[in-house]
Symmetry: C2
Subunit: 485 residues, 2 copies
């Protein structure tokens, strides 16, 4: 380890590995092409040379893959176009299939499972823990799942059934069953001897769970405490009884907040009777946070799910259609609002050039409000007590913005078209539409939250629909009243 | 712990605490109001009754606060309006000030520090580790920092100087100095005895760092290995020498990916000579991931930084101005593009109603492309080898979308205005603008990446500017050519 500074570091490493894989694959493809084109680069025993070359590259690739961490192979698979991806997948040792399938993204996993036989799938699932099988289950054919299920012990079947029964956004979905339990009436000495019988402790074991004969959780013993205290002390004297416990039906989001807030590495999961069911390790929570935040960004752009960047055009297009269709509908509606004022526009064609400004700025400003509100809702900072206060504040900000930016836009309109009434209409319309944006930017997420829906999904498109149509209506309506009479 | 099921759970808990605090504060304010309005609710010794009542509520509040975790107090402070926040802040025991200041968001921290005396600030900083002081430093007055610095030991000064020298997005900023080091030539027995001399191990200690006399890292000993192996084995026989090591100048983003990929709880940080400098614990990484993803969402909406929801209108408005000003500029530009075609619009006023559709849909579609590309760039999946392939794919998707949605929009235009040429112009403009959106949606983030800038910032506003102005230009230009001649 003393020479780490000379090696490329861990993240460059995976990039380097990716490039090595790509280079070897390119050579392989070149070899194949040459082998199929007699007459080029041929000497005495051309086929043999090519085949040997090709073989060498493939065995080099094989060696490289064997050394890589499953997560790194998953990364490489995701970054390769589909035909190369399947070639690499084919070369991965079968006994690592399961671990890699768990690591790749859903979209890429689909493309890998599609080329695996039932037998291979069954074997891959066989290498996994029950909580991991549950993650994989939605992508596996029914018949494979039935066989996997049959191969499990009764206890494992119970765990698998439980793990599969929890919704994706619950603590149950983050839980694993890999943990060490001890009794409270033993000494640390006994615990230490017990631990020495293990080959290894489960990953992320930072505490041992103290249970009674009925598996009811009595407390937790941090490994720290085990290590710094004298061997003759009893567990009961050291165990913590007031630490965080989760329930499988709790929202995963809440558990994630608890992990962040209290800096946890693992937390026990208990049922209503206090019986220990499993534990949530920090890596599951980190994956959850990452996936959640990615989904937020994807949802904001109207992408239904993460895309395999090498998926077919058709598949990617479908992933984006819902959003475009929705936006087209709201655009049609806004277009009809404008259509209702065609008489006014004919008289003042300047209105056509100015109206997108009114609609656009209010949309931007309203989206800022929505973002603040959604964030505060997610953190639990908004309650009925302060919601009205916030609304007043957002309206005040819009009033200020309306005067400032509306004034500038009005001045711009006046300078261009030398019409004071037009400038005043512009300013008034900006002000009113900014207020509208703040109002609906508050009300949409709050209403969605009340209806039990995720305020992050669809709020923005609804807001833009309102500020667009509303902006056109307010601006052209004011113009009709004050400019054409 | 057996009765946890009856208690409200951890996250409800903090909400419950918040409500309790608010209720007590309301009573307190009521008490104050009554005390200041003689004649209302007065009996014999009214002042005394009020004062006592008030006192009782405040001492109740005090007790509640004393029992709460610093992170929970931070949450409550963030959710309270400024005057109540400062009242609660005043009641928090001074010896917890430091821990709480570390937990609150930057915006709220500012409001708390503003009311603290130099003495209080110095004391608060004195309770913290050097890496935490470094986090706080940018918000502290120079004079306070000088005093804090003077109060530190030489070693701590060195650490603080180092911690403050690393940029926010580097591994150095996530690092702490709290770790246990051992030598490789001792037995586990000796290590265990050494650990028993500690009162407690640093949080997130999942491995001990094996160093030589010069503090050069030789390997790591996972606590797991310490626990499951026989006491007479030597550290050298068990320590891992190929585990992840970080460098203080590495990007925090890359370290976060390594933590996620390899499920780490802590990782050592070494300098160029391999000397152990500190370690990064998983909670720092989790905070970083959370902050990053929040910033992404805030940046998408054009908010400079997270807002204290109870900050003044003026402060919040300023946080949002840059974005609105930028958007106003691009809107002015688009407006001038339309202005150039006023002659055409006068003849075909229908164009005014249809043009926002062309601009809007291409903006949405281009933003989908940008989101996919930014995500793939962040994951390191895009390299020169496959960038062109992706561009072709995105263009193909836009072609498909252009035919589908352009066709629908053209049909809509035809149905409304009974003009085949108008319908065809609409379809053609949609198609071209969608292709434009895909092209710039690819090129903007790739170019920003090449220039070493964060592609997540500003890409979207630039794209929308292009699809808006471009859409108006393409649509009105085609109309001028094909409809007015």
């Amino acid at each position: 380890m003393s020479d780490t500074s000379k090696e490329p570091n861990y993240t460059e490493n995976v990039q380097v590995h990716l490039q090595q894989v790509q280079r070897l694959l390119d050579k392989h493809v070149l070899g194949t092409t040459v082998a199929h084109q007699p007459g080029i680069l041929r000497t005495e025993h051309p086929e043999l040379v090519d085949l040997l070359l090709q073989k060498r590259h493939l065995s080099e690739l094989q060696n490289l893959l064997n050394e890589l961490h499953p997560a790194d192979i998953a990364f490489i698979l995701e970054a390769l176009p589909i035909e190369q991806r399947l070639l690499v997948w084919d070369m991965v040792k079968a006994d690592r299939d399961g671990d890699i399938l768990i690591e790749v993204s859903d979209a890429v996993r689909e493309s890998l499972i599609a080329v695996m036989s039932r037998e291979e799938l069954r074997e891959a699932a066989g290498q996994l823990d029950t909580d991991e099988i549950a993650d994989l289950a939605p992508d596996l054919p029914q018949s494979v799942m039935r066989e996997v299920f049959k191969s499990l012990s009764i206890e494992e079947r119970e765990q698998l059934r439980a793990a599969m029964s929890y919704p994706n956004d619950s603590v149950g979905a983050l839980m694993d069953f890999d943990m060490v339990t001890i009794r409270e009436d033993v000494t640390l000495e006994v615990v230490s001897r017990y631990l020495r019988r293990f080959d290894d402790l489960p990953d992320h074991t930072d505490q041992l769970f103290v249970v009674d004969r009925d598996d009811v959780l009595k407390g937790v013993l941090p490994l720290n405490q085990l290590l710094v205290n004298e061997p003759e002390i009893e567990v009961a004297a050291l165990m913590l009884t007031d630490s965080i416990t989760l329930h499988p039906d709790d929202k995963a989001q809440q558990a994630a907040q608890a992990f962040e807030r209290y800096d946890l590495v693992s937390a026990p999961v208990v049922d209503e009777e206090g019986k220990l069911l499993g534990r949530v390790p920090v890596n599951a929570v980190m994956d959850f946070i990452r996936t959640e935040s990615e989904n937020d960004v994807l949802n904001l752009a109207g992408l239904r799910e993460e895309e395999d960047i090498f998926a077919s055009v058709w598949k990617s297009a479908k992933n984006r259609w819902m959003w475009l269709a929705l936006n087209l509908c709201t655009a049609f509606f806004a277009s009809r609002v404008i259509g209702g004022f065609e008489g006014t526009i004919e008289k003042f064609v300047a209105l056509a050039a100015l109206m997108p400004i009114v609609a656009g700025i209010a949309g931007n400003s309203g989206n800022q409000t929505i973002t603040i509100i959604i964030r505060s809702l997610a953190l639990g900072q908004i309650n009925p007590g302060n919601a009205r206060r916030l609304l007043v504040k957002e309206l005040a900000i819009s009033l200020l913005n309306g005067l400032v930016w509306g004034g500038i836009a009005g001045g711009f309109a006046y300078l261009l078209y030398k019409s004071v009434p037009l400038g005043l209409v512009m300013t008034a319309a900006m002000l009113l539409n900014l207020l509208l944006g703040a109002l609906v930017g508050m009300l949409i997420p709050l209403t969605m939250q009340k209806l039990g829906r995720d305020p992050a999904i669809g709020s923005s498109v609804l807001l833009t629909a309102i500020t667009d149509s509303g902006g056109f209506f307010i601006f052209l309506g004011l113009a009709t009243i004050f400019l054409t009479h």
